[in-house]
Amino acid sequence: MAKEQSRQIDKRQVALIAYLALGVAMILMTLVLAFTPETPATTQVTVVATRTLSPLVLTQQADYVTIGPAAHQGSGTGGGRGQHAEATPASTIESGTATPSGENHDTSH
């Protein structure tokens, strides 16, 4: 009788240990997934900034009859530091100076 009772207790304990072992495995897996470098903490999640075609290509494709001065250049409130006061027509961009974005950038931090 006593042996049967102790066996039952053992079974319950084994079941509890197995249940908790699975729980611990899931917790460790959760931590591994959360701390892996693939998480958005280290990857860019920009949703607005998109690279367009290079200015060179855009200039070549442009319909010169309908294009007017670029609205944002020089039309801001007060004008920025080192900014030209007059609007620069998009159609007059020199092809030699326009480089695809992401190239020839001098980014000093």
């Binding site: 319950r12 903490a41 607005v48 900034a49 080192g82 961009i93 326009a98 931090h109």
Partner: protein, 436 residues
């Protein structure tokens, strides 16, 4: 065999019994002293590991290289980007006369979210209108932070300007289930765009940063739960009122803190606190009330009001257990070892969170999985296990796996230690007062 007189035998037995009685307290005292020494050493080792993790995390933060590549993304038209000492990036293109023309500006704004600082890089046109935003760095819980992208939260900022208020609930819509993160993103963007305006745009009129104090329904409910559970806990002479009151508090916790607000107390809150990532109190009063309330009430009352009363996840387990009459199961032979397992898990997560400065990643509790249906696949498995386990064992997650139980238990230990120290000092003072 020599005959021993009966009286002599009785005296001998009496002497042996007395010796045993005298020896017993000694061995108990020795055991206790040994246990105290062991606990002291463990506490010291734990403290040193935590301090080391904190230092490692501190030394690894503030890496300027994190911006590499992002500035070009928010100033896509610029052919040349220059930065100044104020942290302003100026993008230029070459004009028709060969002179550089400003195509836009960019700056980083930082605000504290749920898991730590969120660094937002904002790109504007020369007039200060936002054209692009990018998350440079964050330490939020990944599953929650992804919600912002999913609901296109960032899109709301394009076309806005430094002159706009950019507050959640005013011109920006919040994100349910990720309020703290959304609030911090908005704050970071606000800081950056206004920084651009003050550094680069002549004559820019920047509105004052009049952030309203966020005190509404969530804060009122939380305060009410603390007060009601505190009062009910004192009602020892009225067990029926206490019993039904506790069930009402638990139901409110599940419904309001869990399903409606989805703002439970998690390990990420604790790690953020330790890492020094305290969010702006005006926008995040709830965060301070929750942590402050638990600390204050546990210190005063000696009982943790949150875990056993209004923790939505604990209450859910208890409700499920009440359906089947689940009883606590704490086998004496292994229970203390299992408690050390629970402490070990919690400690590991805290050390990782501090060392890697990612408090948001430490939250392995499946709270958000239940109340917001957000979580990684192991959290879903864990949730199902816990919900089924609750039908058999009383609060299985709270008793064996919750990382907050050891943390709150530690507050109780500190309280006991301070109380003992105070009582000893008082006794020593009264003894020395009696001496001539």
């Amino acid at each position: 065999m020599a005959h021993i007189p009966l009286t002599r035998l009785i005296v001998l037995i009496h002497q042996v019994t007395n010796m045993q009685k005298a020896a017993a307290p000694n061995s108990i005292q020795q055991q206790r002293a040994r246990q105290r020494r062991r606990q002291g050493l463990l506490s010291l080792a734990a403290f040193l590991i935590l301090a080391g993790a904190w230092l490692v995390g501190y030394l690894n933060t503030g890496n300027q290289d994190a911006l590499n590549g992002y500035v070009e993304e928010v100033l896509p038209q610029a052919t040349r980007i220059e930065s100044d000492s104020n942290g302003l990036f100026t993008g230029t293109i070459t004009g028709d006369d060969g002179e550089p023309v400003v195509s836009g500006y960019a700056m980083v704004g930082v605000a504290t979210g749920y898991g730590g600082p969120i660094a937002m890089l904002v790109g504007t046109d020369p007039a200060g209108t936002i054209t692009a935003v990018s998350v440079v760095e964050h330490a939020e819980t990944p599953n929650f932070f992804r919600q912002l992208e999913r609901v296109r939260f960032y899109d709301q900022f394009t076309g806005t300007s430094y002159g706009d208020s950019l507050y959640l609930g005013e011109d920006i819509d919040g994100v349910s289930g990720a309020t703290l993160s959304a609030e911090a993103v908005a704050q970071g963007i606000r800081q950056a765009v206004r920084g651009i305006a003050s550094s680069a745009i002549d004559g820019a009129v920047i509105p004052p940063d009049n952030r309203p104090i966020n005190f509404g329904a969530p804060e009122i409910v939380l305060l009410a739960l603390f007060v009601v559970s505190f009062i009910l806990h004192q009602l020892r002479s009225r067990p029926i009122i206490k019993k039904y009151g506790r069930w009402a508090v638990m139901a409110t916790g599940v419904l309001v803190l869990g399903f409606i607000l989805n703002k439970p107390f998690t390990l990420a809150n604790v790690v953020s606190l330790l890492a020094g990532y305290w969010p702006d109190w005006r926008n995040n009063l709830y965060w301070f009330l929750l942590l402050g309330g638990i600390l204050v009430v546990t210190s005063i009352q000696g009982k943790n009001p949150y875990c056993s009363w209004f923790c939505p996840f604990g209450a859910t387990q208890e409700f499920l257990g009440s359906l089947t009459g689940a009883k606590p199961y704490q086998p004496r032979a292994i229970y203390s070892k299992l408690q050390w397992l629970q402490r070990g898990l919690s400690f590991t997560a805290i050390v990782l969170g501090l060392a890697l400065r990612q408090p948001g990643a430490t939250s392995y509790e499946p709270f958000g999985t239940l109340f917001n249906l957000e979580g990684s696949w192991p959290q879903w498995v864990l949730l199902v296990m816990v919900l089924f386990g609750s039908l058999v064992i009383y609060r299985p997650f709270c008793n064996y796996l919750c990382p907050l139980d050891p943390v709150v238990g530690y507050i109780g230990e500190v309280r006991r230690w301070v109380k003992n120290l105070w009582q000893k000092n008082r006794a020593a003072r009264s003894t020395s007062g009696r001496l001539p």
